[in-house]
Amino acid sequence: MIKLEEVTKIYKGDVVALRNATLEVNKGEFVFLVGTSGSGKSTFLRLLNKEEQPTRGRIFVAGKDIGELSSWKVPFLRRNIGCVFQDFKLLTNKTVAENVAFALEVIGRPRPVIKAQVPAILDLVGLGTKSENFPHELSGGEQQRVSIARAFVNRPLILLADEPTGNLDPSTSVGIMRLLDRINKTGTTVLMATHDRSIVDTMRRRVIELDHGEVIRDQARGVYE
């Protein structure tokens, strides 16, 4: 599903965010990316949906070299990749249902499809009763569920989560992880960058550890350290 071949990313001022990373993630895998702040986790995720370009090396997503993707095709790559962030990135002037519908509307899905899919995905994330609420009326955990619903409503092949539990308390985080696990079980490949030791240690999934941009550990059914 995802393949990196000697990928290096250097930002201005010789900041190395990723150095010679070569690895492969198979379809349906659940992968934790761990490492200290600035170790390159976010860059790793941003390279996959072409928000950043690698300085060297090649990246394949779903069998395609995304370095050779012309810029007008990038949106179509991103339709196959859902994204979840620590700060949710919800639109505050739209209701829960509208936030999710927005993601479908802007990629040109027909209205009947939107009408059918939005309630279904909100039920899936457990927010069926809050569809008319605004984000500020929800708890942090609920807001993150909305953002997961938005990322997943288009049934992407890959879900990228950048510290999705970073702003949440431990018990709420568990609920979010259950949700991501369910999504993973539908066959969606999940990559999650995290600092949350207990989550990584409980889930026992593949762990890739980065340190100053280098992959220093890649372990199936791993722990945080």
């Binding site: 509307e105 802007v106 040109g108």
Partner: protein, 297 residues
Amino acid sequence: MPIKVDYAARETASNLRRNFTITLASVLTVFVSLFLVGFSLLFRQGVEKTTERWRGGIEFIVFLSPTANPDQINAVRTALDSPEIEKVTFVDQNAAFDEFRELFKSQPDLLQSVTPDILPPSFRVVPRDKDARTVEDLSAQFRGKPGVKEVVSATETIKLVQKLSNWATFFISGVAFVLLGVAVLLILNTIRMAMYARRREIEVMKLVGATNSFIRVPFMLEGLIQGASGAALAVGGLVVALPFLERGLPSATDFPLFSGIIPATGDRLVTYVLIAIVGCLVGAAGAGAAVSRFLDV
């Protein structure tokens, strides 16, 4: 991917509402500049048409009687063939009729009452020496000759009008062009503000894979609408203002046929279409610059 029309319309409308004051500023700037452009174009066309027969250094015109016979015409022609005269152009009755039709295009009643055979053929004369007194002496020789109906010389007034019109159009166009530049910048900034106000939405749109064109269309439309509204106001303004202007000027029929100045307003429709096109271009240029500079993937 098809752009959804209702989506684009809704987003554009809300952008325009959100930035109402600055949108108004852009629209008014486009309006004022295009009004000036249109005004100077129409004014210039009018002056050019009216003074057309005096272009190319023509200093006096010998109008022949419509009933002049070929011998009389040839006699005048021979007399004009002198070393003092640089160039002579003969305008026969059909050419005179064409010219007449062009001048009085806006007055169909007048046109219907005229046929080529009642119009005077004429010699347009370019003398070698342009000094007023020499021209006067020269033209006087043809007054009263057989077959000559009237001799009209380019007065200082006509020359002054031509000069003033050149200056006025030059100056007004200069101001109008600066204002058009201002309008482009204003529209650019309006769109930029609209994009800033929607930056979170744009971010989400990019994340979920909305195409560039989908993201850009509402902003492009916003600029286009601003430019087009300004142009519409300018055309409306000209339509309202021109009759007042013309009322102030003497009407064409007040002038004797052979005098120098006839107020003509030129081809208005072409000017209006031109204004509309320039308005849309200004809007598109401002929006396009904003979108390509501040909306990268």
